[in-house]
């Protein structure tokens, strides 16, 4: 056999091996999609920014801006291991019907977890300008949600106006900007029934934030007339307290 023919046969053999490898990869199930749609409530009732409500101490309150970073989303598989997505989401409740869509390996999961804020490893020291402009951590994508390189991103922005007395015009500012690595929190849902992420299918769920729970929860509450403002880029305790309260402000329901 001459050398050219040997080369040709070698080429055909390598091609065949490559094709076999591809077939083996095809055996691995393709991932599925876990989609969390979002809703906002106040005391359990549907809420839209700009609506005037009453807080737990009777103050008329109107939220004008409510945003929160969520990163990462993780699901716990049957082996008890947390599987994390790499996605970062910025929930802006002025935008209707936002969705957080992540890809996970097909399988059965019994818990859902998400980080409220930006994980310390990406919160500081990464220049926002290094992200593409459509990324939630980019200069444009994080507009109004970035402090400085040293203090990182605002994890939760909760802003509006209130009045001391019912019937008065709402002119007093409410402005809670929570952040810093020490204020990063994790929200976990232990599920009664496991759920399945099916290959190439979408598993929808509804994540609801009760905005009233940012001000009152088990063991703590915030009086907006006493503490109406925190910009805790230096990690003051009020911002951390609101982050603690927010941990219990979410509910998750699976949708048909």
């Amino acid at each position: 056999m001459n050398s050219a023919l040997r080369l040709y046969i070698a080429f055909l053999t390598m091609s065949a091996i490559s094709c076999n490898l591809l077939r083996k990869e095809d055996v691995v199930p393709l991932p599925g999609t876990f989609r969390m749609e979002t809703a906002l409530t106040w005391g359990g009732d549907p809420y839209t920014l700009g609506q005037v409500v009453t807080d737990h101490l009777g103050h008329p309150l109107r939220l004008d801006n409510l945003q929160a970073y969520v990163a990462p989303i993780a699901l716990r598989n049957a082996a008890g291991e947390w599987v994390e997505s790499d996605d970062v989401f910025l929930l802006d409740y002025s935008i209707h019907a936002q969705k957080m869509v992540s890809t996970f390996p097909a399988g059965t999961y019994d818990a859902v977890r998400f980080g409220l804020g930006i994980p310390p490893e990406i919160n500081t020291d990464i220049d926002p300008a290094s992200y593409p402009n459509d990324h939630p951590l980019s200069v444009l994508g994080s507009a109004g949600m970035f402090w400085t390189w040293a203090s990182g991103y605002i994890f939760v922005k909760y802003e509006g106006k209130y009045a001391i007395d019912p019937g008065s015009q709402l002119l007093e500012p409410v402005s809670y900007h929570c952040g810093t690595d020490a204020s990063y929190r994790t929200v976990t849902f232990e599920l009664n029934e496991p759920f399945e992420v099916k290959s190439q299918e979408v598993t929808p769920a509804l994540l609801t934030l009760d905005a009233s729970r940012a001000l009152i929860g088990t063991g703590d509450s915030i009086d907006i007339a006493v503490d109406p403002v925190t910009h805790n880029s230096n990690g003051d305790s009020l911002g951390a307290r609101m982050m603690d309260l927010l941990v219990d402000a979410w509910t998750l329901e699976f949708m048909e």
Binding site: A4, P128, A129, V139, L140, V174, H177, H231
Partner: protein, 369 residues
């Protein structure tokens, strides 16, 4: 017939494979609007700046940019041949208007100060109220606006079409001799995207090329600190609160959001962003302008009410006036920022470090006619 030797087939296949890959990786044209005759222009993104999103249907080309410059300064785009875009965007004022309101060819005045043209390729919206979401869309407005250049677009393109120069330039830039308003806007947008300022003293300092004076650096620290007395404002650092809206992320010095900075308590004269969104919560909100070259862009605010930076800083120091939509950053309920006169002077000294005179004198931005 003689058979081709196997090694020749393998060789031919290999050559075809290799050349084919090269063609795939370096396409000449990726979009329908790409013009293979024009020379691609690669915009240099300055250090610390984010990427600039350039529309796929309007890539930068040397010919398109130069055409855009000619059109920007073209007075035949106004009804009486007296005004160009540059008439209200003067280089000495960092391509803004030194008058509170610009005066159109009929003598009519607008209701807002002409915004500075500087690094606007990064902006996600245009005009004080954000009514245009692309640069191309923004550019279409002033030519035909009755209070500005007052020339219907059909007349504008007819003038350009009948000129001895423009059809050839459009053909080279866009492979089309038929001039349209959209192509005019595309050319001007290309030019404006190249108007990048990144050589202020602050930029040089960030690049390690110079030092700020003690006064400038003290002003920078005030700029970056939270406002307010920590006794009354949790997190307060006796700072200027400036960075919240004019943050240095990406060295833009604007968050490009819409805010009510406490100038007025009612907004019937100019509802601002609410006129675009229809949302009452946007009343009195206007786009945060960049602070780059702010020392050159007087007068200040959307209506040009302040003539000096001293007046601007004094306004923020006062806390502004309350209203239903005033931004919570404004310290109107706690008596303002309480910056001392020395601190205000330091802050202004810092703002002067954002001045980039090479930008306003750059030959490639001047009137070519």
């Amino acid at each position: 017939m003689k058979h081709w030797p196997v090694h020749s087939i393998v060789l031919i296949w290999a050559v075809m494979f290799t050349t084919g890959c090269d063609r795939c990786s370096e396409p000449i044209c990726e979009t329908a609007d790409c013009n293979p005759a024009a020379t691609p222009y690669e915009l240099e993104i300055p250090p610390f700046f984010p990427p600039m999103d350039i529309p796929e249907d309007n890539p930068l080309t040397e010919e398109g940019i130069e055409l855009g410059r000619m059109l920007f300064w073209e007075k035949s785009l106004s009804a009486d041949y007296s005004m160009s875009c540059g008439s209200c965007h003067l280089p000495a004022a960092s391509f803004a208007d030194p008058n509170p309101y610009s005066t159109g060819i009929t003598g009519a005045q607008g209701i807002r100060n002409a915004m500075a043209i500087i690094n606007i390729g990064w902006a996600p919206s245009y005009f004080w109220d954000g009514r245009a979401v692309t640069l191309e869309e923004q550019i279409l407005e002033p030519v035909s606006h009755p209070d500005e250049m007052a020339l219907p677009w059909e007349d504008a393109v007819a003038r350009l079409q009948s000129s001895d120069v423009y059809p050839d330039l459009f053909e080279v830039a866009f492979t089309d001799r038929v001039i349209t308003p959209e192509l005019v806007a595309k050319a001007i947008a290309q030019f404006l995207r190249t108007m990048v300022s990144a050589d202020s003293k602050f930029d040089q300092w960030r690049r390690g090329e110079t030092n700020l004076t003690d006064q400038e650096f003290a002003g920078y620290e005030i700029f970056l600190r939270e406002g307010g007395d920590p006794e009354t404002t949790p997190g307060g650092q006796f700072g200027g609160d400036c960075f919240h809206c004019h943050g240095e992320a990406g060295l833009q010095f604007s968050d490009y959001l819409f805010r009510n900075n406490g100038l007025d308590s009612t907004f019937t004269a100019d509802p601002g962003h609410a006129a675009v969104t229809g949302n009452p919560l946007d009343s009195g909100r206007f786009k945060t302008p960049t602070l780059r070259n702010v020392a050159l862009t007087a007068p200040y605010m959307h209506d040009g009410r302040f003539e000096t930076l001293e007046e601007v800083v004094a306004h923020y120091n006062s806390g502004g006036v309350p209203s239903a939509t005033v931004d919570p950053f404004m310290k109107y309920t706690t008596g303002g920022l309480a910056l001392s006169p020395v601190q205000q002077a330091q802050l202004i000294a810092f703002l002067h470090t954002l001045t980039d005179t090479t930008f306003i004198h750059a030959q490639q931005f001047q009137d070519p006619h």
